[in-house]
Symmetry: D2
Subunit: 270 residues, 4 copies
């Protein structure tokens, strides 16, 4: 019997891209709130989600340095499991309820990419960096205090897609609101059989189930964000028309479930 | 309407990991034939495939430098679409017919990884290199002629998983036999809903449909291959007990279809 | 006694960045000729070189896929020694003689970077790609024939610095003229002693000595090149005002010597 | 006038690999103390250093996540300037004084590599990871407290060269002693002129001058370290025969000077 949660299933179940849930995460976040052209934000919404008229064009961009572990001490193998991430959360509505929708998402690790696909996050590979904060003071240490600046960037296959900046002003109690909303994703796995390339084998609208979400050490301040135009990409269609507050915090959570909201998959395999 | 063949589906359909088929490939291959412990080879077979008693433990390892294009001149964007690959093909039987089965496969590109998942190839990320042959002669050019040596390697998250060598002896008419067999894969996409982690949303035994397969400039010679033990991996369970012939050739093909052999998916979404 | 040509010198001399010359190279080249603002080109010239008034602002950009070997079969270890390169050659004069000068140069390999520094090439790390030509025909194979298009790119730390295109028109006898000129470099190694940061320990104007230079399979055609603006870089100051011919060819050479033209080093260590 | 501290010197002085000192650093360190065969440790010593008979074979291995800045807010461009490092410090004597000597050193960034060469550190490129500690608690967060485990690894061109582990036991006042010794390096820049490949242009024994060195949050505990054998490398010659204590701390310092101890350079350029 082959074992594993994803491919490759294998005799011992150690070679798979992704070990079975629960999955545990802890990381540092730079989050930048902005407003884009509402039409551009709405154009990214999947079937089942509608625009949030209360917050037209409101988006949150997140740069995250993540540490991951499942049940097998994966955090002790950082070459394989530590990763960095960039994504945007667009305000949307699901059946009258405000939710967050992630149209674009990038990570620098294959296991994170495959976990994302199982969750319905549309992860591709990218190269993500954020200024870190270190305990030993020097001009390079970026302490968590008023006035400290942070930089962050996303590049994909050698093109710069996002550049962010944050200047800390003050600690606050809660992280940006988009993080506290439910996140709705689209699980999608295509068919390759001739004639059915437009008829995915999996096409589900799903809601993330997040356990033990914590955000600690939240600071807010002035943010800035650029989403430069890049060939073969569409993130820049969400370019900011106005940038709001920025945030820096640490975050942790666990994942072991997912709620199926709608199943759009056409019945029948083949 | 969002467009695209895979995630992320997007307003223009340009941002997706994988453009719709047909997919066209051309590349250079170093292939090394070997025999492993038959029990180790058989232990990798999925439901529906049985051991090939005529060739117990026979495996082909392939290192490939690939160029890819779909319909949008992707070959002109090599930073995004050129890639390298390593995989092994194990001899197996499907309903009395000899087929090839790929238990482990690695690429250095996210688009190739996602295409592979749609095809049922269990692709993870790796770092793959092979000695190239250049037209301008020098001690570094590795000309295609008797006595020229080639090296090749696979590393995954910083661990060396395979090291191959080939010394060319003579041109031959046909590529290694495993390439001419049908390849049977397992399309597999997990569920994340609690209680259904072992019950994939897609679990199909499939047969690759390959158009216009060409192998040109085939040479054979003496091969060598090491599959060193590595933490968190199982490729080394297929370590050679004997190495056979090696091959170097150029290969091209196109993909726009897939044949579903068996659908093991349990009915009902969840 | 420690052994080696560069750091780290070591007991066996195997761990060094660069083995002792002779160094042998073979590779594939996409070269794009262009004219930039002459003042921008001249501003890159080091002491000892003067502008070439016959070819004001004339530059050649080269994308190269290289294979390297020294005396120890380095071409069999492509993970460590195969590399890709981008550089520009500016027309200049040395004591009345037309020469080529390389103000900016990027490679994706540390051994190539350190060899470059010993030669006086100002190599930094970058990510370089070019469309390859494969023998097995498909829509992805880019055959060497009239009408075939090639793409090429350079990115540095996630910013795109160069994008080139070439459409083949016809074979010709000789490679671009800049390659046949002598190349003049500046060997430069700084001091870190306080008060002497502007007073390098090595500051020599040198002329490359290239053995057995061959260019084969030379084709010419229409080229295109963009050098987009990037933060922390100056390559874009050489942006084309006009693009000339493009070239695709294979090249090989060997290096085991260097001619010192001028020694600007201030006497005395410190 | 061209500007810059290293190549490429350029019109604006922004394109160089390394900006002029002072250089400021802050980072997190996992340090593992061990003893190797004294003959192996002594075999790495350069002219001018002698074995430390009081601590025969004593070595400290360090994995560091660094943030760097010079005078131009480099810490806000982490894609270009943040980096990771591995090195070993061997106990040695210089004229009767205990010092530390770094025979092998790896970083994942070209600017850090070139700074190292100016300082006399024998830096090559590698891929370095360490378990990080995050403020938001989860199974993945690795808090700084008794019993927390950390992993660390070094890979070079796809071969694993070092794997470390640390289990925290208790906070202590001071970092490992090797860090408090003076570090003696060898600045070395080769000649390429024929006949002088063994006669470097720069060959100096130097002592690091480190300003404002701070180590904060020092914890000690049980360490473990493997230095597996790898082709083309010599680090494994220092494989531990016994592992001592491990340490985890944050460290910062600034660099703007270097003391020349001995100049072994043969006079005369050429």
């Amino acid at each position: 019997m082959l074992k594993g949660y994803t491919v490759p299933l294998s005799p011992l179940g150690k070679a798979n891209l992704v070990a079975a849930p629960p999955w545990h995460y802890s990381g540092d976040v730079i989050a930048l709130e902005f407003w884009t052209d509402p039409a551009a934000a709405n154009a990214t919404l999947p079937p089942g989600l509608t625009p949030d008229s209360q917050s037209a064009g409101h988006v949150l961009a997140l740069f995250v340095d993540w540490q991951f572990t499942a049940q097998d001490d994966e955090f002790l193998d950082p070459a394989r499991y530590q990763y960095r991430e960039f994504y945007v959360l667009v305000d949307a509505m699901y059946k009258g309820r405000p939710v967050a929708w992630a149209p674009y998402m990038y990570v620098d690790n294959d296991s994170a990419m495959a976990r994302g696909h199982a969750q319905g996050y549309p992860k591709r590979l990218g190269s993500i960096f954020q200024t870190r904060s270190f305990a030993a003071r020097s001009a390079a240490s970026a302490p968590i205090e008023r006035g400290t600046r942070f930089g962050a960037s996303l590049s994909v296959h050698g093109q710069r897609l996002a550049e962010g900046r944050l200047t800390l002003r003050e600690p606050i109690e809660t992280p940006p609101a988009a993080l506290l909303k439910s996140t709705v994703n689209r699980r999608y796995f295509p068919r390759l059989t001739a004639g059915r390339h437009d008829d995915p084998a999996v096409n589900e609208l799903v809601m993330a189930v997040t356990d033990d979400l914590q955000a600690v050490g939240v600071w807010t301040g002035e943010g800035d964000l650029r989403l430069p135009e890049a060939c073969g990409e569409e993130l820049h269609a969400l370019a900011p028309v106005r940038v709001g507050s920025g945030y820096r915090f640490s975050m942790s959570c666990s994942i072991s479930d997912l709620k199926i909201l709608e199943d759009f998959t056409v019945a029948g395999k083949g």
